[in-house]
Symmetry: C2
Subunit: 430 residues, 2 copies
């Protein structure tokens, strides 16, 4: 059974040639001995002789050749077109089987030096390109995202304090965790770079009494964020600025960015660090970067860059430390790897996405649905197989005090959704 794509027609194409079958065998060798099979249009196959946990069916020769030449791009392209189909109990499981196989078949890691020429291609977008990249992904419409995100529209990794938590509760818990790591105090001035629909900005203001200036280049997200913030009576504490993070120039006590660093581009890391150094006070500045990263430097999957996230690059921890933090007088006080939580978040998103798929297909088309299905399932599989990580890096200026223990981080998360909302404050707090 497939919750991903169903094989809709019998396999009765022209007979595959010896060359086709040889190529197919080569494909399986890349992931062998993974418990999966590759099947051609005429039913011939290569793979495990046992019951497979995933079956990849190539419906025409173009799909086969694409996979042989550049699987990174053409797996996704053929899946989108519907000429590559995956049969499995769950598409996320199936892709995890493939990714685990790829991982275990490779030499563990790239040589340590001299082979990162491609990193310079990740220089990062200009102001204009950044706006266009963001527009392409984040301005697909609030209606679209509302169909499968949580009710606050948080589009970053959640934190499931316990495995049975709902997505909604886990997104609240993530925001609580971030606030605790930042040691927010009433009156703190917080800058948020890349604020999405503003949920974290509102959470910080409502529950920690801080003032927030939140930056985002997506017009549609900012419009939603302002409206939701007015409804919550938090306008006097939260200001949304429709501008690139590079325009930030006002002093603050705290700098936070959740899910933006992936889009900044390697070439802009030094400038981001310098910016944070400029706006944070030297004696007590603190901050947090939450980002998708890697254990070994490598470009993002080419299909994801082409179809989903143009210009994105998941950095390693050493790249962030060496370029953003260490040259600019910051001390790392805490790093947490939330990789399993992002796999779980993506599974929750995909479950909701599948329920909404008929509506999404009406809004866009079937190709769009397949692309997003693959992006969500493929991302889940990437976190499960360890090809990407989710790092939360907490830091402070060198002379800021380092927290004594993590006990405050581990205290049980409050369920603040039941707390009464504050009255709309009269007048502005600045």
């Amino acid at each position: 059974m497939s919750t991903g794509d169903v094989i809709a027609r019998d396999l009765r194409g022209p007979r595959a040639t010896t060359a086709d079958r040889w190529l197919l065998g080569q494909l399986y060798r890349r992931v062998a001995p993974a418990p999966c099979r590759f099947v051609l249009w005429d039913g011939s196959w290569a793979g495990t002789p046992d019951e497979p946990r995933a079956t990849v069916t190539l419906c025409d020769r173009a799909a086969l050749l694409g996979l042989a030449v550049n699987a990174d791009v053409y797996f996704g392209e053929a899946f989108m077109r519907g000429t590559l189909r995956v049969t499995a109990d769950d598409l996320g499981d199936a892709l995890t089987v493939l990714f685990d196989g790829l991982r275990d078949g490779q030499a563990v890691a790239a040589p340590p030096h001299g082979s990162r020429w491609w990193r310079h291609l990740q220089a990062g977008p200009s102001l204009r390109a950044a706006r266009s990249n963001v527009h392409r992904h984040y301005d697909l419409g609030n209606t679209f995202y509302r169909q499968w995100l949580d009710d606050e529209l948080v589009y970053t990794c959640a934190y499931y304090e316990t495995p049975e938590m709902s997505l909604e509760a886990a997104q609240q818990a993530k925001m609580e965790l971030v606030c605790r790591k930042l040691q927010l105090r009433p009156g703190d001035r917080v800058i948020e770079a890349g604020c999405g629909w503003g949920a974290l900005a509102r959470y910080m203001a409502r529950h920690f009494g801080v003032r927030v200036r939140a930056f985002n280049v997506s017009a549609e997200q900012i419009a939603y964020a302002r409206e939701a913030t007015a409804r919550a009576g938090l306008t006097s504490q939260v200001e949304f600025v429709e501008a690139d993070y590079r325009t930030i120039d006002e002093p603050c006590d705290v700098f936070v960015s959740v899910g933006m660093l992936e889009h900044v581009g390697f070439g802009h890391y030094e400038a981001l660090g310098a910016l944070m150094q400029r706006v944070l006070p030297r004696d007590r500045g603190r901050g947090l970067l939450h980002f998708i990263g890697r254990s070994t430097a490598a470009p993002l999957n080419a299909w994801i860059r082409r179809r989903i996230f143009p210009g994105a690059y998941p950095p390693t921890l050493s790249e962030v430390c060496a370029h953003v933090l260490e040259p600019h007088g910051f001390t790392v006080t805490d790093v947490e790897n939330l990789r399993p939580h992002y796999a779980r978040t993506l599974a929750d998103w995909r479950r909701r996405f599948e329920r909404a798929a008929p509506d999404v297909a009406r809004m866009f088309d079937d190709v769009f649905v397949r692309a997003w299905r693959l992006y969500l399932a493929g991302s889940e599989a990437s976190f499960r197989s360890g090809s990407v990580e989710l790092f939360q890096v907490t830091f402070g200026t060198v002379s800021a005090p380092v927290p004594w223990t993590r006990h405050a981080l581990c205290a049980p998360m409050p369920d603040r959704r039941s707390e009464p909302r504050p009255e709309a404050a009269p007048g502005a707090a600045g």
Copy 2:
């Protein structure tokens, strides 16, 4: 009042010249406006007009010139000789005042690239030099270290779960924390590189049921470790190997090193990572590196290298990630910065050291006592002012599972010192 050195004679040297006083003013400018004073042999001074929190007295012109030319080396040399004296409520406080002043007077950090030529001088010792470096520091005699370390002779940063913890309890808590981070399970094979007097090896075996092979090149430490382990009835679980970590070649489940990386040398990081990759299982290997590090790459203080720790180098997090972990298929799962705990540990050590100072002076001499006094107080001040950090980096092979939360790390520490010791096990467990 001075708990460090007392000014033993009146200041009645020859009159200082105009040039002497000018130099003195220049010295203070490096730390200004720190609340301290520099005083010359004839009583003339430069510094804060207010009540100073630290007074540095230079008893002769050689001390003044040394400080002017190369304070990194000659502050310590003159302090050792007794021609530089520090008057303050506490020597650690006094040095913190100076270090904070130096820090705040500098441009925050070194330029990010191209200025780390000196790092290549930190290539790291040969096998023979490593043995000699270790001998010089760690073979000063168990009698010496017993006078001021805790009763288990743990010579690394403790973990004060609560501020009122004793040094003994905090060292136990540190070992417990390390074991929890490593997720030890009964029967695990653990390799410990650089095991000191063996306290952690015994703790892991006794309380977590693992088998440990622990490496150390200090003959005197190994002899003590073996004896203490036999007394504890743990010989069947813990084996001490008098050899350099580079000779490790047997497979294990867990690799741990507490306080050794500082002595490995930058030039050996790749080899250490490759070694860990060789001995750890690809699907579930895990490890922990606990080390003195930096936020900004810089050599260790020259006097400490000359007199206390030849060959030592505190790396930045990016250096450890980029050279030890990332090229060898390891994922960072957790980083904790225990800087305030090392400041506290050093204060505890120094309090005990001062009580034992008369005995230590009889074992060695007054110069030795002053050198160690400065080393302990200076290290405390370095952690307090943020010029060094204490990083605990937990990692796993890429396919090893990442812990779901940190809750297990934050559970209260048991006081296991009151637990009954196990009977000496008959026969070997392997």
